[in-house]
Structure formats: structure tokens, C-alpha cells
Symmetry: C2
């Protein structure tokens, strides 16, 4: 049954190729209005998920992530209107090559095709992804978590009613699978799906990477680093350390390890400890000579805590900091704090992480903060796209080649 749904999605692709910007924007406007009109219905269905979550004893913060109320529905509806105003990448010229034989080769941005997204909890992701996909002529197949099934069902139903007179059928599909084998059907549907984007737990992402035959964009693994250089403004370093670790520790762009140059460690670490009162600190030997904390092991450096826990390591020089980051980073985001521009340049050029910051918090690695409107996820692989996945990142290209009878000799 899932294969039938995917087959229909693939068919929809063909007709989405020719859909013009004004039609896409009309569809988005319709969805935005429908969400407002039907907010009571959405809240009613969402309450079923909330009740089940509470029955299952799910913790309060997770229940809150699931919740849709009037304000949150209005925010979703507004976000869709913002997507309408974003620059449309489809059909834009990437480059033009003129060949000596007279051929003119134009590389043009086109949709990726069928985008499968597997995600957990927050139901607003359903609307975010559907709207970014519609804006880029993509077809999406959404597999949300079972904890949000009533919310996702009603949201996709509302979306489909809102676009039915405007866009091809099966442009937005919700897949309901209960067994792992059915997820396999999705991630191995090589003929029907162009890319799979898993969002959620490390376990989910690893399962998809291991078992997919459809190309995957990996997202979200975030062991991020802050390096406090010998020429850092230490007040700035403290503010940024606080923001990057504590402001919202549960997200992937929060830091897990702070590397501190030996020359500033004696001054910096006690101050840091003061603002990290509610943070469990693991330090290396040199750190533990300066402040009192637990002993950091290899395992600590390789763990994404997503919690009020932080590793601290004192390094001899920038080379040791770079070496450490190469060994443990998931290549998501790293930041250097220094007043020396040459040092910053060296750090930023030497690393190959998706986002490398100078004198700023890693917490800015986010589609909204980059000005992308919304995001489908944050890529942590090198292939296709890096960092926040906005409209540009869910496109492919094709070559349109104009001749007047050329044949190859």
C-alpha cells in the first residue's frame, strides 16, 4: 500500500515540473487561510495526541512540543505567508557555458522530485516541510511520529483540501506505518523517491543511513565546539559560552566541549565555572588543576549530551584545538573567540565543519537565523547540502542544451 502511495507521488512530480510561481503561492495562501479557519478542528484532534501522551506518561517538555493551540496555529499560518515572500529558486540560471561548436549549455535549478521526510514529535514540522516543498515544486512524502498521528492526519487533510483545485493530486502525502518493515518500503523505494531526510533521534538517523537505498541527507548530529583563543575577549567568550551551552542545551547547535588556550585558562575557567553553576563539567587534567570538576574521558568528548553537561579541555595551542575538533566533531558548528583576525582565518580555513564562527554563538546554525524562512533540517554530511536546509537546498539542477543540428565527431 505504501508503494502505491509512492507511485502516485512520483506521478505528481511530473506535473509539478510545470507549476508556475503564482500557482504555488496561491496554494500556500490557501493553506495558511485554511489553518486559521479550521483551528478548532486541529486543536480537537491534537488533544487526542496530548491525551495519549499523558496516558503514556511522556514527560512534560515532550508533551509541550506536541501541543497545538490557537497561538501556535496562527504562528504556523503566518510562517507560510513568509514562505510566499521568499525568493523562488526554481528555474533560475546557475551557469551558462558556450561551447566552440555552438552549443549553449544552461544549468537550471529544478525540484529534487519526491522528498521523503521521517520525523518525530512536533506537528508544525508537517506544515513547514509541506510549504517549503510546494514553494520549490517538490512533492513530499511525510512520515511523522505515531505520537503526533492525529495532529498530522488533520493537518495533511487540511493541506490537501486547500490545494486540491490548484496543485496536482498527491503533492503532499502522509504515510502511516506501524512496523519497521513499512519504513523500509519508503527508504528503499529507489524508483519513486529521490531523497530521504530523517529528522529525530540518532537511532532513527542511523537506522535510515544503514538501510536506505534512496539517497539520504543526514541531519542533526551536533557535537559542537567553542575554542577560546589566547587573544580572546574573555567577557565575550563567557557570554558566548553561556549562550551556546545553556540557553537551550537540548538542540543540536548547542556546544558540548569548550577548548581553552592554556594562557587564558587560569583566568577564564573560574569565571566560567561561576556561570556554569547548573552545568555538570568534565575536564581534562589541566582543567582539573584550575577548577574542581569530574574527569573527562574519550567517551565524554564523543558524546552529544543535549543537556546541562559540558566538557572542558585546556589546549597548548590552536593546532591542538583543531586536532581535537577533527577527532570529535560531527562537523555541525564550531566557533573561535579571538581578537586576532589572522588566527580566526586560520581556524576557519582549517576546519571543514558546516558552520564555522568567529566571535559568535553556534546557536545561530538554524534556517530561521540564516534568513531561510524555515528549514527542512540541518545537514551534517558533505554531499548535496550543508547546514540548514532551506529552499535552495531542496533543489537539483538540469542542463538545457541548445543546438542547431550538432553531432559528435
Amino acid at each position: 500500500m505504501i508503494r502505491e502511495q509512492l507511485k502516485e507521488a512520483k506521478k505528481a512530480c511530473r506535473f509539478m515540473q510545470n507549476v508556475k510561481p503564482e500557482v504555488k503561492n496561491k496554494a500556500l495562501k490557501n493553506i495558511s487561510e485554511a489553518l486559521i479557519q479550521k483551528s478548532e478542528l486541529i486543536i480537537q484532534e491534537n488533544q487526542k495526541d496530548i491525551a495519549e501522551a499523558k496516558n503514556n506518561g511522556i514527560k512534560e517538555s515532550m508533551v509541550d512540543r506536541l501541543l497545538l493551540n490557537k497561538e501556535r496555529i496562527e504562528a504556523m499560518a503566518k510562517d507560510i505567508l513568509k514562505v510566499i515572500d521568499l525568493q523562488d529558486p526554481i528555474g533560475t540560471l546557475v551557469r551558462e557555458i558556450k561551447r566552440p561548436n555552438g552549443l549553449v549549455i544552461q544549468q537550471i535549478k529544478i525540484p529534487l522530485g519526491v522528498i521523503g521526510v521521517i520525523y518525530e514529535s512536533r506537528p508544525n514540522v508537517t506544515v513547514d516541510i509541506a510549504s517549503l516543498c510546494i514553494k520549490t515544486n517538490n512533492v513530499c512524502v511525510l512520515k511523522g511520529g505515531k505520537e503526533a498521528i492525529h495532529s498530522n492526519r488533520i493537518l495533511v487533510q487540511i493541506i490537501n483540501e486547500a490545494i486540491q483545485d490548484v496543485l496536482p493530486a498527491h503533492t503532499v502525502t502522509l504515510i502511516e506505518t506501524k512496523k519497521r518493515e513499512e519504513t523500509l518500503d519508503l527508504i528503499q523505494a529507489h524508483d519513486y523517491v529521490d531523497v530521504i531526510i530523517p529528522r529525530g533521534s540518532a537511532g532513527l538517523i542511523q537506522y535510515v543511513v544503514k538501510n536506505a537505498t534512496v539517497p539520504v541527507i543526514e541531519t542533526g548530529a551536533g557535537i559542537c565546539h567553542l575554542y577560546v583563543d589566547q587573544e580572546a575577549n574573555l567577557d565575550m567568550a563567557l557570554e558566548i559560552a553561556k549562550n551556546a551551552k545553556i540557553q537551550r542545551p537540548s538542540v543540536c547547535n548547542a556546544i558540548e566541549t569548550i577548548l581553552v588556550h592554556q594562557k587564558v585558562a587560569p583566568e577564564f575557567l573560574p569565571k566560567l565555572q561561576e556561570i556554569f553553576k547548573n552545568v555538570q563539567i568534565y575536564g581534562d587534567e589541566k582543567t582539573r588543576k584550575i577548577i574542581d570538576c569530574l574527569e573527562a574521558t574519550e567517551k565524554n568528548y564523543a558524546t552529544e549530551y543535549d543537556d546541562y553537561i559540558c566538557n572542558i579541555k585546556v589546549v597548548d595551542d590552536i593546532e591542538e584545538a583543531i586536532e581535537h575538533i577533527y577527532n570529535y566533531s560531527t562537523k555541525h558548528s564550531e566557533s573561535i573567540i579571538t581578537e586576532n583576525k589572522e588566527t580566526a582565518k586560520y581556524f576557519m580555513e582549517s576546519l571543514d565543519s558546516a558552520c564555522v564562527y568567529h566571535n559568535a554563538s553556534t546557536r545561530f546554525s538554524d534556517g530561521g537565523e540564516f534568513g531561510f524562512g524555515a528549514e527542512v533540517g540541518i545537514s551534517t554530511q558533505k554531499l548535496h547540502a550543508r547546514g540548514p536546509l532551506g529552499l535552495q537546498e531542496i533543489t537539483s539542477t538540469k542542463y538545457m542544451i541548445y543546438g542547431n543540428g550538432q553531432v559528435r565527431s
Copy 2:
């Protein structure tokens, strides 16, 4: 043992980040000169592969693909000099975003990292890939076919001697595997390899797609189409059909099926049959009313012949042509022959194949013909890169973000 080699390759990545253009070009020049100087040694080793191939009764055309002689070695050496002159994508600015909070976000082209290439037969591919990777600061891990093992060994040895004083160690690695499980080690080395590019038989590519956990760029599957419109210049259509089918049928950018508008079929098909004397033709019912040929089945339309065999189908209109291409194309290359620019535009915009031609042969889908110098392969997937893979296509990007103390609120 392979995992040890891959670990070293990953280490080399870090040091390749900082290698400057003049250093890369010096390395390429050294390789080019060394190939000429050591051409006798190369020929001597290559003869071992040739002898084994003959012993194993491999067909003449395949033996010829393996052969390295003085002229071919000189051509390889010259091709490397051409790569030196190509525009270097690394470090170039893709886009700059200035945010209201003062952050400046620069998206910069960087190497992909470790590129694993699995390929068969022609040993010049070894030199092509190594030089494109060096030019783009990438590290490559090459797994050539066992039929070319002596040639590949000596070529990689010469490359490594030529670059040893210039580039980091392990920038170019040859992997020798005899068992399938060892290939598995390569394509599942998720921690060490950033992308796998399989080049060769459909069986090889499918094996890699099925079993890899490293991201894959699929290459080479080519069921390409030619559509002869009702407003086609039929002489041009004949020339292009001939070129696209017969000039070199064994390659992926040759066509397998010709779709002919019903209005021109009675005039076009007999002429086509005349120039297709050595081509086995499979036609649909309407075609068989006009010319004598075998009956085409679903299976024919879905087969990549790579041979003097061609399907012909008469279509009612352009919609039927597009529908057929959507059903059977591997999304490599398609061409329309028409004098009507609006018709051409509609055809080219409706399809999502990597290369869509107007009045030209599909045989131009090639890195050299596109002006890319050489190619690592031809991508037939939507993710990351499409069509010929040149220097631009073996890069990734990172964001370099400049602040002055910004934290997220």
C-alpha cells in the same frame, strides 16, 4: 587493513584543507612529467594486464580499453596539464548573507573530503580522478578493477612519488580488494569516506547502492531518448539519430529509443531504416505498419542495450512522448528535434532528466564536451550533482560566519 588505509586518507583530508593553488598545480605538473619519464615502466606493467586478459580470453575491444602505449601515456600527461589550467573552485564565494544582527554569513566552496571511486577496466581513469581530486583539495581512494591491477599499481606509485614532497601523505590511495567483503569495508566506512562514486556495470552500481552507508553518487545508467517532433527538420533528425545511436553505441549517452510524431513517421521511418541497416529495430504497432521490424515490448523500452539495437515508437503527440520518457528514462539525456521553439521549450521544461537537448545529439553529455576538462563519472541521480562530474561537482561548501559577540536570544 583497508580501514587503516581509510583512516590515513581521512587524516590527509585535514592537511589538504590548507593546500594552496600553486602547490596543487605543482603536484599536477610533477605527475604529468613523471608519467612521461616512466612511460616504459608503465608499458611494461600494463603488458602484464594485457597478457592476463588475453589468457582469460577477454574480447578484443576490452583488451584495447586496457592498453597503455606511448601515445596514450602522452595523452594522459597532456590531460593533466589541462587540469592545471582549469578554474579552481575551492575557496570561491557561493553567496553572502548579511543579517540584521550584524552577522555576515559567507558560503564558501570546499573539498568534499575523501572520495572513494570504484571503477572497472580503463587505467587512465586512475590518473583522471587523481588529478581532478588534487585540483580540488580532495583525497581519493581508488578501487580499480582486478583486470588492470598491474597498471593501476604502477600509476599510483608514480603519482605518489611525484607528489610526496608537495602534498600530504595518503592523498591518493589504491585499494586492492579481492573479496566482496573488503569492498563492503570501503562503502560502509561512514566515518572515513565522504562519498562513493561507482563507475562500471549496472551490477556493480546496484551492489554499491544497496550496501553502502557512505553517501553514493550513482552514475552511468543511460536509457536515453530522441523525440522527432512533427515540425522537425527531418534531415537533421536523421543525422542526429545516426550520431546518437550508431557513432558509439556502447556508451551511456547513446540513445536506446526514438519517439516519432505520427505526422512525420511515414516519411521519417523508411529513411531511418535505411541508415540503420546494421541496427536491430524493435517497433511498436504503428511503427510496424510503416517499416518491417521486430515487435517492441515493455521490456525493450526498459533495456539499456549499449549495442546496435534500437526501439522505435510512433506517438500521437508530444504529451505521449513526455509520458513515455517519464516511464522509461533513467534521467540521463533526452533530445527533441523540432523547428518550433515553443515546442522545444515545453519539452525541455517538462522533463527532469539531467541533460535535455534541443536539436543536438545526446552524445554531448560528457565532461570533455561540456568543457569540464575530464570527468569523474556521469551522475544519474538528483542529489548533489547531475550529468558530467567535473571539478565543481566534487566540491562541498561550508559557511564562514563573522560576528562581534552575537548571542542568540
